[in-house]
């Protein structure tokens, strides 16, 4: 039953490069768009806010599949220029998840305590300095966990590129392996699921690293959760030694 396992793995590995390219490309574009439109939604100018809001609502309100089909089937007809399927996929992943990311950025910036703004104004920092030196570093720490979830969603979204003929991992399993080994569907799809699971775990590791770095920049120690754990241990240790008030 497992005779063909090496072939399954190597065939799916042939698509790994494209899955990684789509995921990393999508992450890069969506990260940039998240910050651009997240900040734009907080802009003082009404027009900028409205434009950002429209972008977010359109890309969040329609389905990723529709967006892929639109760029793949419709755009070439309208502009007379066919873009490479992989590029179309990366652009859609970036624009789609950028819209979700913009809400994360906006939320995290708004969650920074008001006193921080007031302090920065009292120190007569310019609006740019205020954002770059005071608000953003604190907001970044809050953004990392939701971005972790978002990037895992993006990785999962990259599997939809199979629908516009990109030969990434899912396409390899569906169009190469399933044609040859229909009877071994169980093993083929299980191997593929494990591949995605490993990539998700990898993203989480990367984001945990970023979280620690972002937290260190603002002097918050490793992370809030770790700090809470540490605190709990300290309290327990204190109680064990009979510390605190005598009763």
């Amino acid at each position: 039953m497992f005779d063909n396992l090496p072939e399954f793995i190597s065939t799916i590995l042939d698509g790994l490069g494209l899955t990684l390219a789509a995921t990393l490309g999508g992450i890069a574009i969506s990260a940039v768009l998240s910050f651009v439109f997240g900040l734009a939604m907080l802009s003082g100018s009404r027009i900028v806010r409205v434009v950002a809001r429209i972008y977010v609502e359109i890309w969040r309100g329609t389905s990723e599949v529709v967006q892929l089909f639109w760029i793949f089937f419709v755009l070439p007809v309208l502009v007379g220029y066919q873009i490479v399927p992989l590029m179309a996929g990366i652009v859609v992943l970036g624009l789609n998840f950028g819209a979700y990311g913009a809400e994360i950025v906006r939320g995290a910036i708004q969650a920074v305590p008001r006193a921080q703004y007031e302090g920065a104004i009292a120190l007569s920092l310019t609006p740019a300095q205020r954002m770059r030196r005071v608000i953003l570093p604190q907001a970044l720490v809050e953004m990392v966990p939701p971005f972790n979830n978002l990037f895992i969603q993006l990785l999962k979204g990259s599997a939809l590129l199979t629908m516009i003929t990109v030969p990434e991992m899912t396409n390899q399993a569906r169009n190469v392996l399933m044609d040859l080994y229909t009877g071994q569907a169980g093993l083929i799809w299980t191997v593929l699921l494990v591949f995605y699971l490993l990539l998700s775990v990898l993203i989480t590791f990367g984001m945990k690293f970023l979280e620690r770095r972002a937290a260190r920049i603002v002097g918050r120690g490793p992370s809030q959760a770790a700090r809470d754990r540490g605190l709990a241990i300290a309290v327990e240790a204190g109680a064990g030694r009979g510390g605190g008030f005598p009763t």
């Binding site: 609502e57 359109i58 969040r60 309100g61 329609t62 389905s63 990723e64 599949v65 529709v66 967006q67 089909f69 639109w70 089937f73 419709v74 007809v77 309208l78 007379g80 895992i152 990785l155 999962k156 979204g157 990259s158 599997a159 939809l160 199979t162 629908m163 899912t170 399993a173 569906r174 399933m178 229909t182 009877g183 569907a185 169980g186 799809w189 299980t190 593929l192 699921l193 995605y196 699971l197 998700s200 775990v201």
Partner: protein, 219 residues
């Protein structure tokens, strides 16, 4: 190349009449599966048996970390091999429902955690049996609070239903694609599909927002 209104009107009835209907049916049924199964998973995560908790945790993490489209293919190709045969649409409803149950389980969990500890203690003091504590005390307080979050997952779920066209379910996008390939002209049907999604998901999000306000008021 210009937009052809005549052609757009011609394909509209097919996309709305068949596609939209299928999309809404799948969304509603899969949501019901996700709501029910999510609650079961959330309760199992609080099982007194540690092994059950671990297995359920592992299952939820696994489903959430892997793409829905691969899970759909898995069910579509693997289940018939072991003698379970479903039509594409029920297969899709079950897989999407199961996938989203792993998200709603977390929603229920947060809702259950938010019920004050005193409620549990009161139930114990009244020596209510475990079942009564859950279904007469805890859940009636936990569930109304999480309804808006559940609604939001239904909206996400709606937007993932076009995945099912890979196994032959003709939803909005499937119907649009079929109309397009019949006439070798895609811009109008695919754009109509996009606009339909925007209309449905935006009106659904307005409903969820109203629900949110009502929940906030009743607390």
């Amino acid at each position: 190349m210009n937009w052809d209104w005549d052609y757009a009107w011609e394909v509209l009835p097919g996309i709305v009449g068949e596609g939209l209907l299928v999309t809404l049916r799948v969304t509603v049924l899969a949501s019901l599966v996700a709501y029910a199964l999510g609650l079961v998973l959330a309760l199992l995560r609080r099982s007194p048996v540690a092994v059950v908790r671990w297995i359920v945790w592992g299952f939820i993490e696994f489903i959430r970390s892997t793409p829905l489209i691969v899970q759909v293919f898995f069910a579509f190709f693997v289940l018939p091999n072991i003698g379970i045969k479903f039509d594409p649409e029920p297969t899709g409803v079950i897989v999407i429902g199961l996938h989203y149950a792993c998200y709603t389980a977390e929603v229920y969990r947060a809702g259950i955690d938010a019920v004050p500890k005193g409620q549990w203690e009161a139930a114990t003091a009244l020596s209510l049996p475990r079942g009564r504590t859950w279904f007469a005390v805890i859940l009636p307080q936990a569930i109304p609070r999480v309804l808006p979050a559940l609604g939001n997952y239904s909206i996400s779920l709606l937007k993932e239903t076009p995945i099912l066209l890979t196994i032959g379910v003709l939803d909005i996008v499937g119907a649009a694609y079929q109309e397009g390939s019949a006439a070798f002209r895609y811009p109008e049907p695919i754009t109509i599909a996009g606009v339909l999604f925007l209309v449905v998901s935006y009106s659904a999000s307005l409903l969820v927002r109203r629900l949110e306000r009502r929940v906030a008021r009743s607390n």
